[in-house]
Subunit: 270 residues, 4 copies
């Protein structure tokens, strides 16, 4: 076994349980990602940042070096995967895959921030670091179940989203004309009223914007009730998606030779 093959077997996530160094690498990587997430979150707390800034900078530098080596190794060994066999085009295609882009975004901001001085840009780059969290996705196989349900119900979900948007625009426009005179500051424009609309339809109800005229209240009540029905749509769609998924999975795993209902042997017609 070549070194490249060995490194590949260590880095790659496999279905069967990994052992030894490969197992240790996974644990180590997951730990580093977790610690990075915690560090990024805690770093924004002023009191913590002031006292332990040196530690944060050190950990950040270590993480980026580690993630960089990991990224380079992954690009080097990806040709072991039959999907990316070609040394040049295979590697390039690997580099534009979802997980590779995530890996790149995890380190890229660090290097760029050394060549820029715009504080606005640096802040956005800092925000990018939170996407290191997505490095976890490589390990959550089970996400595929949700992915399948979402993909199968794609059309209905998008449609219910479009319906919600429709309702949001219509109801916010009406509300604007109803409430604008009574509350010219809060319902200053339709875009401002959209904020009320989304807060009502999703039943969040922050309470910073709400109608005060009787007509506006009546209308808001109608919208709130409709919002409940709107919310019922994706719930209904996803529920039937889950039920279907389960029954289809069952058929796969139990390719029944006997009728599941009467237990009689089935002569398959092919």
């Amino acid at each position: 076994m070549t070194l490249r093959k060995k490194v590949y077997s260590i880095l790659e996530v496999t279905r069967e349980k990994k052992k030894g160094l490969a197992w240790f690498f996974d644990i180590f990587l997951l730990t580093i990602i977790s610690l990075n997430t915690v560090a990024i979150i805690l770093h924004t707390v002023k009191s913590i940042r002031q006292e332990t800034d040196v530690f944060f900078v050190g950990f950040e530098t270590f993480s980026v070096i580690f993630f960089s080596i990991e990224y380079l190794l992954r690009v080097w060994v990806c040709v072991e995967n039959p999907k990316f066999q070609n040394p040049v085009w295979g590697r390039l295609r690997y580099m534009v895959s979802f997980t590779a882009i995530i890996d790149f975004l995890a380190i890229f901001p660090f290097y760029v921030s050394h060549f820029t001085t715009g504080s606005g840009l640096i802040r956005i780059l800092r925000l990018f670091r939170i996407f290191r969290l997505f490095k976890f996705t490589r390990y959550i196989h089970a996400l595929r179940v949700f992915e399948n349900v979402f993909r199968e119900k794609r059309e209905e979900l998008i449609l219910s989203f479009v319906l919600m948007l429709f309702m949001l625009i219509i109801s916010s426009s009406i509300m604007f004309y109803v409430e604008h005179d009574a509350q010219p500051k809060v319902f200053s424009s339709i875009p401002a009223t959209l904020w009320w609309g989304v807060s009502t339809i999703t039943t969040v109800g922050y309470g910073d914007t709400f109608p005060i005229t009787p007509l506006g209240k009546f209308f808001a009540g109608v919208i709130a009730v409709s919002g409940v029905v709107m919310i019922a749509l994706p719930t209904g769609i996803l529920t039937s998606g889950f039920s279907e998924h389960i029954s289809s999975r069952r058929k796969e795993t139990h390719p029944h030779k006997f009728c599941p209902h009467c237990g009689k042997e089935i002569e398959k017609h092919t």
Copy 2:
């Protein structure tokens, strides 16, 4: 092919993909509708309106002329549709169809506003423009799925709405008698308390009205929990509607020759 037939084939939405001029017309119309929606929304923002009012007026004039020509053409060519064959009655029946009324409401306010001076009326007419959004519905075939589910579950949905209304009236009446003395301004009357009721039952909870007496709080808690069950009703109804719809659609598209349960060949009984 007569000119009328040609115009009809361009305007009409068909199941098969449209090509050439017909395809271009669809794209153009959808773009104009989208831009109109954006313009109507942005026009209410004072800072944007003040700077670019000329542009808005121009775009509005252009849109109305375009929609007017579209409307007249549609009325002219609708007789090509077998459903509206009669030159007089067919056209009249077309003009009272849902999509034709929407098309009419999209242009009608513009013309009326030139013959009126009442600012209140002008405002309502301006509000009407938002219904141009409904011109989209011609293109969303998929809405029919939701339409079917809603229609099939019509009775149950209406009933659950009636139940909600019942609960709303009863609970708001009780709440009014419980809280009126403690908060005579907020819970000033049963209609005012209905606003609290709808905000609680739909779990929006703006936070502008809430009970402060122990008895009122206890009662509000009971209502909030019941509201959760009330909301579960339409969700349950719609979910079972979606599940049924899917299983019935499957039967249509896969008129199976073999029983999926016992594997026996099916001789259709007609």
Copy 3:
């Protein structure tokens, strides 16, 4: 046909459509109930009450007289119903039936309020009038569908309610100990904290009580997420209830002689 039988046929709600006087009586009664509901609600609005109090008193007197005659007639003719045949015991058993009690409660407060001077009692009696709304239930046959689903899922629904109560008590107790020192007025005792708990678990979130300490916020977040799952319980229970109801109703209405799946004739084994 005796007079009693005739009155009975007019008053009683039947499955087949009523005609003539019986039909007119139903419409009239439903109108009076609706107007009563509207009157009771509007009567609490001060500005409306002050101007039109005479009208309200008149309508109230008329309604009570009408409902009283209706009640007496119903008690008189109920013996026509085979269930209440006995002139004495049958009538007594009728008078303790749900609908008869509702009819009694609709008129009872009016008479009692003439023999009392306690303003507190009068207010409660006034509140009782809102239960006239329940006189509608006689006419909503379709409620039986919901009634069946609720009855069939009684155990699970009660259990999920008990679970919610459990969670409410536990989480409010913990929250009280966590937040009491930081907000001694808002989280003054466990009963006061229960108000926060119910507002959070049902996701209403009025915003009058919320934790301010980091530990309290963390804990409130956990409770809010658990609340979402708690709310999912009755939704799931009712949804499966509706699905079962539909499939069982289908079996009743289509006692299939042919297998619904393969269309083969079924030889019934009895």
Copy 4:
């Protein structure tokens, strides 16, 4: 029958209805637990506590003595249960069972609080008393239905929880960078923003923290809509869990002799 066996038959919860002393013991224990819950809750209300503190102390002492005797008896007689036959190891294994630990936690704080003076510790010990509520669980057989559904859907529920956590962290991080400058006090750090995130995703919406910048509001709207979908996930999972549970239970209770689909007699294949 030995005394130990008799005591065991009185204490143990059985499937068949208990009679005589055993039935009386159950009622008495349940009453004591209920009264304890009420006492613990009411004891935190200052006005009630001040007036009737003597009563509370007395009832607490009585309860702990009663629960202590109950606990000791249970440990003594547990060897009658075939699962805990061994006089030493059986008893130890019983003592670490869920119900035995609950029984222990119900009395343990009382004794410890006599040997400590730290007011912080005493408060935590007082909080522990609320776990006496869990003594009820011994009697709620029906909880097993929920337990089964939760266990069967364990993976999906945990996964949807992980997804929610993911979304919470990502959205709060973005929100922090978007809103920090406009509201440096409210969105002071990512941990502080997490509070906004959990309140929005669960649609509680207390209203103490919400974005005020247009970008922040747009983003909050997207998160709120996604939150609705996130909440739909556990609902869908639990609903399909309940449906499956019901259909599987039916198969158990009605081991049908005839296929419900084709009506043919079933010869069981074993």
